[in-house]
Amino acid sequence: MYVWCADIPHSMPTKHSGNFTQSELYEALTLRKEWAYDHLYRELSGTFTHWVGRNNGSEMDAEDAFQKGLLNFLLNLETGKYQFQENAKITTVVFDYCKKVWLNELASSRLVTRAMMPDAYNPANDTDLQKDLERGELITQVRAALHQLKGDCRQLIEWFYMDDFSLREIAEKLGMKESSTKQKRYDCTEKLKQIYLKLTQQNQ
Protein backbone atom coordinates (compact mmCIF):
# COMPACT_ATOMS: atom_id res chain seq x y z
CA MET A 1 0.00 0.00 0.00
CA TYR A 2 1.42 3.52 -0.96
CA VAL A 3 1.10 6.67 1.05
CA TRP A 4 1.18 10.14 -0.35
CA CYS A 5 3.96 12.41 0.96
CA ALA A 6 2.76 15.75 2.23
CA ASP A 7 5.16 17.65 -0.01
CA ILE A 8 4.12 15.93 -3.23
CA PRO A 9 0.94 17.12 -4.92
CA HIS A 10 -1.34 14.20 -5.70
CA SER A 11 -1.23 14.93 -9.41
CA MET A 12 2.55 14.55 -9.57
CA PRO A 13 3.80 11.21 -10.77
CA THR A 14 5.87 9.22 -8.31
CA LYS A 15 8.28 6.39 -8.81
CA HIS A 16 5.37 4.04 -8.27
CA SER A 17 3.25 5.36 -11.10
CA GLY A 18 3.91 4.80 -14.75
CA ASN A 19 1.55 7.49 -15.92
CA PHE A 20 3.42 10.63 -16.77
CA THR A 21 3.99 12.79 -19.79
CA GLN A 22 7.35 13.41 -21.44
CA SER A 23 7.21 16.95 -20.11
CA GLU A 24 6.72 15.66 -16.54
CA LEU A 25 9.62 13.26 -16.98
CA TYR A 26 11.80 16.10 -18.28
CA GLU A 27 10.82 18.28 -15.33
CA ALA A 28 11.50 15.47 -12.86
CA LEU A 29 14.94 14.85 -14.38
CA THR A 30 15.88 18.50 -14.03
CA LEU A 31 14.83 18.24 -10.37
CA ARG A 32 16.77 14.96 -10.02
CA LYS A 33 13.75 13.02 -8.87
CA GLU A 34 14.60 9.44 -7.99
CA TRP A 35 11.63 7.97 -9.84
CA ALA A 36 12.73 9.69 -13.05
CA TYR A 37 16.27 8.32 -12.80
CA ASP A 38 14.88 4.89 -11.95
CA HIS A 39 12.58 5.09 -14.96
CA LEU A 40 15.51 5.65 -17.34
CA TYR A 41 17.43 2.76 -15.80
CA ARG A 42 14.47 0.45 -15.89
CA GLU A 43 13.52 1.29 -19.45
CA LEU A 44 16.94 1.43 -21.04
CA SER A 45 19.54 -0.56 -19.13
CA GLY A 46 18.56 -3.99 -20.44
CA THR A 47 17.86 -2.84 -23.99
CA PHE A 48 21.13 -0.97 -24.21
CA THR A 49 23.14 -3.90 -22.83
CA HIS A 50 21.54 -6.07 -25.49
CA TRP A 51 22.40 -3.53 -28.20
CA VAL A 52 26.04 -3.27 -27.07
CA GLY A 53 26.21 -7.06 -26.96
CA ARG A 54 25.16 -7.15 -30.59
CA ASN A 55 27.81 -4.55 -31.41
CA ASN A 56 31.04 -6.12 -30.22
CA GLY A 57 30.72 -5.12 -26.57
CA SER A 58 30.52 -6.87 -23.25
CA GLU A 59 28.10 -6.31 -20.39
CA MET A 60 30.73 -4.19 -18.64
CA ASP A 61 31.23 -2.11 -21.79
CA ALA A 62 27.48 -1.58 -21.90
CA GLU A 63 27.32 -0.52 -18.26
CA ASP A 64 30.17 1.93 -18.73
CA ALA A 65 28.78 3.44 -21.93
CA PHE A 66 25.32 3.62 -20.40
CA GLN A 67 26.59 5.56 -17.37
CA LYS A 68 28.57 7.93 -19.59
CA GLY A 69 25.71 8.47 -22.01
CA LEU A 70 23.24 9.09 -19.21
CA LEU A 71 25.63 11.49 -17.52
CA ASN A 72 26.17 13.40 -20.76
CA PHE A 73 22.44 13.69 -21.29
CA LEU A 74 21.68 14.74 -17.71
CA LEU A 75 24.47 17.30 -17.63
CA ASN A 76 23.23 18.78 -20.90
CA LEU A 77 19.73 18.81 -19.51
CA GLU A 78 20.80 20.52 -16.29
CA THR A 79 22.98 23.07 -18.04
CA GLY A 80 20.24 23.84 -20.55
CA LYS A 81 22.13 22.44 -23.53
CA TYR A 82 19.37 19.92 -24.00
CA GLN A 83 15.95 21.53 -24.14
CA PHE A 84 12.66 19.74 -23.94
CA GLN A 85 11.36 18.67 -27.33
CA GLU A 86 7.67 17.99 -27.57
CA ASN A 87 7.94 15.23 -30.15
CA ALA A 88 11.04 13.50 -28.85
CA LYS A 89 10.70 10.61 -26.46
CA ILE A 90 13.25 11.11 -23.71
CA THR A 91 14.22 7.45 -23.50
CA THR A 92 14.94 7.50 -27.25
CA VAL A 93 17.13 10.57 -26.84
CA VAL A 94 19.01 9.00 -23.90
CA PHE A 95 19.47 5.75 -25.82
CA ASP A 96 21.00 7.77 -28.64
CA TYR A 97 23.39 9.47 -26.22
CA CYS A 98 24.52 6.09 -24.86
CA LYS A 99 24.72 4.60 -28.33
CA LYS A 100 27.03 7.39 -29.49
CA VAL A 101 29.31 6.86 -26.52
CA TRP A 102 29.70 3.20 -27.44
CA LEU A 103 30.15 3.94 -31.14
CA ASN A 104 32.91 6.36 -30.19
CA GLU A 105 34.58 3.64 -28.10
CA LEU A 106 34.30 1.26 -31.04
CA ALA A 107 35.68 3.84 -33.45
CA SER A 108 38.65 4.60 -31.22
CA SER A 109 39.54 0.91 -31.02
CA ARG A 110 38.68 0.18 -34.64
CA LEU A 111 42.23 0.74 -35.88
CA VAL A 112 43.43 -1.91 -33.47
CA THR A 113 40.65 -4.46 -33.77
CA ARG A 114 39.35 -3.59 -37.24
CA ALA A 115 35.92 -4.13 -35.82
CA MET A 116 33.13 -3.29 -38.20
CA MET A 117 31.23 -0.16 -37.31
CA PRO A 118 27.51 -0.92 -37.04
CA ASP A 119 26.46 2.05 -39.17
CA ALA A 120 27.74 4.97 -41.18
CA TYR A 121 27.86 7.28 -38.16
CA ASN A 122 31.32 8.73 -37.51
CA PRO A 123 31.67 9.81 -33.87
CA ALA A 124 34.81 11.80 -34.62
CA ASN A 125 32.72 14.24 -36.65
CA ASP A 126 30.15 14.64 -33.90
CA THR A 127 31.37 17.80 -32.18
CA ASP A 128 28.60 17.68 -29.57
CA LEU A 129 29.66 14.21 -28.56
CA GLN A 130 33.33 15.14 -28.45
CA LYS A 131 32.54 18.14 -26.24
CA ASP A 132 30.47 15.92 -23.96
CA LEU A 133 33.29 13.41 -23.71
CA GLU A 134 35.88 16.11 -23.00
CA ARG A 135 33.99 16.81 -19.81
CA GLY A 136 35.14 13.40 -18.63
CA GLU A 137 38.64 14.80 -18.03
CA LEU A 138 37.22 17.72 -16.09
CA ILE A 139 35.14 15.38 -13.94
CA THR A 140 38.19 13.23 -13.21
CA GLN A 141 40.16 16.27 -12.05
CA VAL A 142 37.37 17.61 -9.85
CA ARG A 143 36.94 14.16 -8.33
CA ALA A 144 40.65 13.98 -7.59
CA ALA A 145 40.57 17.47 -6.04
CA LEU A 146 37.59 16.58 -3.89
CA HIS A 147 39.38 13.49 -2.60
CA GLN A 148 42.20 15.71 -1.36
CA LEU A 149 39.80 17.79 0.67
CA LYS A 150 39.51 16.61 4.25
CA GLY A 151 36.86 16.22 6.96
CA ASP A 152 33.99 18.66 7.30
CA CYS A 153 35.07 20.62 4.24
CA ARG A 154 34.68 17.67 1.93
CA GLN A 155 31.39 16.68 3.57
CA LEU A 156 30.05 20.21 3.26
CA ILE A 157 31.02 20.44 -0.42
CA GLU A 158 29.38 17.09 -1.15
CA TRP A 159 26.20 18.02 0.70
CA PHE A 160 25.91 21.42 -0.92
CA TYR A 161 27.02 20.84 -4.52
CA MET A 162 26.32 17.17 -5.02
CA ASP A 163 23.41 16.31 -2.74
CA ASP A 164 21.59 19.65 -3.05
CA PHE A 165 21.24 20.28 0.68
CA SER A 166 20.53 23.87 1.66
CA LEU A 167 22.91 25.84 3.89
CA ARG A 168 20.32 25.66 6.66
CA GLU A 169 20.19 21.87 6.44
CA ILE A 170 23.97 21.65 6.42
CA ALA A 171 24.18 24.03 9.39
CA GLU A 172 21.86 21.71 11.31
CA LYS A 173 23.88 18.65 10.34
CA LEU A 174 27.16 20.27 11.36
CA GLY A 175 25.68 21.90 14.46
CA MET A 176 26.71 25.34 13.24
CA LYS A 177 25.03 28.68 12.68
CA GLU A 178 23.82 29.26 9.14
CA SER A 179 26.04 32.35 8.77
CA SER A 180 29.11 30.34 9.85
CA THR A 181 28.15 27.58 7.43
CA LYS A 182 27.89 30.14 4.64
CA GLN A 183 31.43 31.34 5.38
CA LYS A 184 32.66 27.77 5.68
CA ARG A 185 31.15 26.93 2.32
CA TYR A 186 33.05 29.83 0.76
CA ASP A 187 36.32 28.78 2.44
CA CYS A 188 35.94 25.14 1.45
CA THR A 189 35.03 25.97 -2.15
CA GLU A 190 38.13 28.17 -2.30
CA LYS A 191 40.28 25.33 -0.96
CA LEU A 192 38.81 22.93 -3.49
CA LYS A 193 39.40 25.40 -6.29
CA GLN A 194 43.05 25.80 -5.30
CA ILE A 195 43.57 22.03 -5.27
CA TYR A 196 41.78 21.72 -8.61
CA LEU A 197 43.87 24.45 -10.24
CA LYS A 198 47.04 22.88 -8.90
CA LEU A 199 46.06 19.50 -10.34
CA THR A 200 45.20 20.95 -13.75
CA GLN A 201 48.53 22.78 -13.86
CA GLN A 202 50.35 19.54 -13.01
CA ASN A 203 48.56 17.74 -15.83
CA GLN A 204 49.33 20.36 -18.48
Binding site: R32, E34, Y37, D38, L40, Y41, R42, S45, Q67, L70, L71, L74, L75, E78, T79, R135, L138, I139, Q141, V142, R143, L146, I157, Y161, M162, D163, D164, Q183, Y186, T189, E190, L192, K193, Y196, L197
Partner: protein
Amino acid sequence: MNTAQFERIEAYLQNRLSETERRDFEAEIHENSTLSAEVEAQRKLRLGLRALGIEKQLLNAQKRTQTKQIGQIRNVFWGKMQWQTWAAAASIIVVLGVSWWVWNYNTAQNENQFMALAEKEMTDVQYKSLPFESLQNLSKAAPTRNAREKAEWYVALVYLKKGKNNEAKIILERIANEPQHLYCSQAKRMLNKW
Protein backbone atom coordinates in the same frame (compact mmCIF):
# COMPACT_ATOMS: atom_id res chain seq x y z
CA MET B 1 38.73 37.11 -4.04
CA ASN B 2 36.30 37.92 -1.28
CA THR B 3 32.91 36.50 -0.36
CA ALA B 4 31.03 39.21 -2.25
CA GLN B 5 32.93 38.48 -5.47
CA PHE B 6 32.43 34.76 -4.94
CA GLU B 7 28.67 35.27 -4.56
CA ARG B 8 28.52 37.52 -7.61
CA ILE B 9 30.25 34.90 -9.74
CA GLU B 10 27.90 32.28 -8.35
CA ALA B 11 24.86 34.41 -9.15
CA TYR B 12 26.17 34.89 -12.69
CA LEU B 13 26.78 31.17 -13.21
CA GLN B 14 23.35 30.36 -11.84
CA ASN B 15 21.64 32.94 -14.07
CA ARG B 16 20.39 34.87 -11.07
CA LEU B 17 21.61 38.28 -12.27
CA SER B 18 19.25 40.71 -13.93
CA GLU B 19 19.78 41.44 -17.60
CA THR B 20 21.62 44.69 -16.81
CA GLU B 21 23.75 43.10 -14.09
CA ARG B 22 24.66 40.26 -16.38
CA ARG B 23 25.66 42.60 -19.22
CA ASP B 24 27.80 44.65 -16.84
CA PHE B 25 29.42 41.56 -15.39
CA GLU B 26 30.22 40.14 -18.81
CA ALA B 27 31.79 43.43 -19.81
CA GLU B 28 33.88 43.25 -16.65
CA ILE B 29 34.96 39.70 -17.45
CA HIS B 30 35.97 40.84 -20.90
CA GLU B 31 38.16 43.56 -19.41
CA ASN B 32 39.58 41.64 -16.46
CA SER B 33 41.52 38.47 -17.25
CA THR B 34 41.87 37.54 -13.57
CA LEU B 35 38.11 37.70 -13.13
CA SER B 36 37.67 35.80 -16.38
CA ALA B 37 39.96 33.01 -15.13
CA GLU B 38 38.16 32.99 -11.79
CA VAL B 39 34.75 32.65 -13.46
CA GLU B 40 36.07 29.87 -15.68
CA ALA B 41 37.56 28.00 -12.71
CA GLN B 42 34.31 28.34 -10.76
CA ARG B 43 32.29 27.21 -13.78
CA LYS B 44 34.40 24.10 -14.26
CA LEU B 45 34.42 23.29 -10.57
CA ARG B 46 30.64 23.54 -10.35
CA LEU B 47 30.16 21.53 -13.53
CA GLY B 48 32.48 18.83 -12.20
CA LEU B 49 30.71 18.73 -8.85
CA ARG B 50 27.34 18.68 -10.62
CA ALA B 51 28.54 15.72 -12.68
CA LEU B 52 29.75 13.93 -9.55
CA GLY B 53 26.34 14.56 -7.97
CA ILE B 54 24.60 13.09 -11.02
CA GLU B 55 27.00 10.14 -11.03
CA LYS B 56 26.17 9.48 -7.38
CA GLN B 57 22.46 9.59 -8.11
CA LEU B 58 22.87 7.37 -11.15
CA LEU B 59 24.70 4.77 -9.08
CA ASN B 60 21.90 4.93 -6.52
CA ALA B 61 19.33 4.51 -9.28
CA GLN B 62 21.29 1.55 -10.64
CA LYS B 63 21.39 -0.08 -7.20
CA ARG B 64 17.70 0.60 -6.63
CA THR B 65 16.70 -0.79 -10.00
CA GLN B 66 18.94 -3.84 -9.66
CA THR B 67 17.65 -4.51 -6.15
CA LYS B 68 14.13 -4.15 -7.43
CA GLN B 69 14.84 -6.42 -10.36
CA ILE B 70 16.45 -8.99 -8.08
CA GLY B 71 13.41 -8.62 -5.85
CA GLN B 72 11.16 -9.09 -8.84
CA ILE B 73 13.19 -12.09 -9.96
CA ARG B 74 12.96 -13.44 -6.43
CA ASN B 75 9.26 -12.73 -6.43
CA VAL B 76 8.87 -14.39 -9.77
CA PHE B 77 11.06 -17.25 -8.58
CA TRP B 78 9.23 -17.43 -5.26
CA GLY B 79 5.97 -17.04 -7.11
CA LYS B 80 7.10 -19.82 -9.42
CA MET B 81 8.20 -21.86 -6.43
CA GLN B 82 4.87 -21.27 -4.80
CA TRP B 83 3.10 -21.97 -8.03
CA GLN B 84 5.18 -25.10 -8.53
CA THR B 85 4.64 -26.19 -4.95
CA TRP B 86 0.93 -25.60 -5.20
CA ALA B 87 0.89 -27.17 -8.62
CA ALA B 88 2.77 -30.21 -7.30
CA ALA B 89 0.46 -30.44 -4.30
CA ALA B 90 -2.57 -30.00 -6.52
CA SER B 91 -1.19 -32.59 -8.94
CA ILE B 92 -0.71 -35.08 -6.12
CA ILE B 93 -4.22 -34.39 -4.89
CA VAL B 94 -5.57 -34.68 -8.40
CA VAL B 95 -3.58 -37.86 -9.05
CA LEU B 96 -4.65 -39.33 -5.73
CA GLY B 97 -8.21 -38.22 -6.32
CA VAL B 98 -8.25 -39.59 -9.83
CA SER B 99 -6.54 -42.79 -8.69
CA TRP B 100 -9.04 -43.16 -5.89
CA TRP B 101 -11.87 -42.49 -8.29
CA VAL B 102 -10.41 -44.85 -10.89
CA TRP B 103 -9.81 -47.46 -8.23
CA ASN B 104 -13.31 -46.98 -6.93
CA TYR B 105 -14.66 -46.92 -10.42
CA ASN B 106 -12.69 -50.01 -11.38
CA THR B 107 -13.63 -51.69 -8.16
CA ALA B 108 -17.23 -50.84 -8.73
CA GLN B 109 -16.91 -51.88 -12.34
CA ASN B 110 -15.17 -55.08 -11.29
CA GLU B 111 -17.73 -55.74 -8.63
CA ASN B 112 -20.48 -55.20 -11.13
CA GLN B 113 -18.61 -57.31 -13.64
CA PHE B 114 -18.02 -60.11 -11.12
CA MET B 115 -21.61 -59.95 -9.93
CA ALA B 116 -22.76 -60.31 -13.50
CA LEU B 117 -20.33 -63.15 -14.13
CA ALA B 118 -21.35 -64.91 -10.94
CA GLU B 119 -24.95 -64.53 -11.91
CA LYS B 120 -24.16 -65.95 -15.31
CA GLU B 121 -22.27 -68.84 -13.83
CA MET B 122 -25.08 -69.76 -11.46
CA THR B 123 -26.86 -71.94 -13.94
CA ASP B 124 -27.95 -74.51 -11.40
CA VAL B 125 -31.14 -73.16 -9.87
CA GLN B 126 -31.01 -75.62 -6.97
CA TYR B 127 -27.53 -74.54 -5.85
CA LYS B 128 -28.39 -70.97 -6.59
CA SER B 129 -31.38 -71.07 -4.26
CA LEU B 130 -29.47 -72.69 -1.37
CA PRO B 131 -28.69 -70.52 1.62
CA PHE B 132 -25.05 -69.47 1.85
CA GLU B 133 -24.39 -71.43 5.03
CA SER B 134 -25.76 -74.58 3.40
CA LEU B 135 -23.43 -74.09 0.48
CA GLN B 136 -20.49 -73.67 2.87
CA ASN B 137 -21.50 -76.87 4.68
CA LEU B 138 -21.96 -78.74 1.46
CA SER B 139 -18.55 -77.61 0.22
CA LYS B 140 -17.05 -79.34 3.22
CA ALA B 141 -19.40 -82.18 3.96
CA ALA B 142 -21.27 -83.14 0.81
CA PRO B 143 -21.14 -86.89 0.24
CA THR B 144 -19.71 -86.64 -3.25
CA ARG B 145 -16.63 -84.88 -4.49
CA ASN B 146 -18.60 -83.32 -7.34
CA ALA B 147 -21.18 -81.94 -4.90
CA ARG B 148 -18.46 -80.57 -2.60
CA GLU B 149 -16.58 -78.96 -5.48
CA LYS B 150 -19.79 -77.58 -6.98
CA ALA B 151 -20.81 -76.18 -3.58
CA GLU B 152 -17.33 -74.68 -3.20
CA TRP B 153 -17.64 -73.05 -6.62
CA TYR B 154 -21.01 -71.63 -5.66
CA VAL B 155 -19.63 -70.28 -2.43
CA ALA B 156 -17.10 -68.31 -4.46
CA LEU B 157 -19.88 -67.10 -6.78
CA VAL B 158 -22.02 -66.00 -3.86
CA TYR B 159 -19.09 -64.06 -2.47
CA LEU B 160 -18.72 -62.39 -5.82
CA LYS B 161 -22.41 -61.61 -5.96
CA LYS B 162 -22.13 -59.99 -2.51
CA GLY B 163 -19.13 -57.96 -3.65
CA LYS B 164 -16.76 -59.86 -1.34
CA ASN B 165 -14.19 -60.27 -4.06
CA ASN B 166 -11.22 -60.97 -1.79
CA GLU B 167 -12.95 -63.87 -0.16
CA ALA B 168 -14.10 -65.09 -3.55
CA LYS B 169 -10.61 -64.80 -4.94
CA ILE B 170 -9.12 -66.97 -2.17
CA ILE B 171 -11.53 -69.76 -3.01
CA LEU B 172 -11.13 -69.31 -6.75
CA GLU B 173 -7.34 -69.54 -6.43
CA ARG B 174 -7.65 -72.66 -4.40
CA ILE B 175 -9.93 -74.17 -7.05
CA ALA B 176 -7.64 -73.03 -9.87
CA ASN B 177 -4.70 -74.69 -8.15
CA GLU B 178 -6.42 -78.04 -8.21
CA PRO B 179 -6.25 -79.32 -11.75
CA GLN B 180 -8.64 -82.04 -10.90
CA HIS B 181 -11.22 -79.68 -9.54
CA LEU B 182 -14.42 -79.75 -11.41
CA TYR B 183 -14.45 -75.98 -11.81
CA CYS B 184 -10.68 -75.47 -12.25
CA SER B 185 -10.89 -73.93 -15.73
CA GLN B 186 -13.88 -71.73 -14.79
CA ALA B 187 -12.00 -70.47 -11.74
CA LYS B 188 -8.94 -69.69 -13.87
CA ARG B 189 -11.09 -67.85 -16.38
CA MET B 190 -12.72 -65.92 -13.59
CA LEU B 191 -9.33 -65.04 -12.05
CA ASN B 192 -8.17 -63.70 -15.39
CA LYS B 193 -10.81 -61.02 -15.04
CA TRP B 194 -9.04 -59.52 -12.02
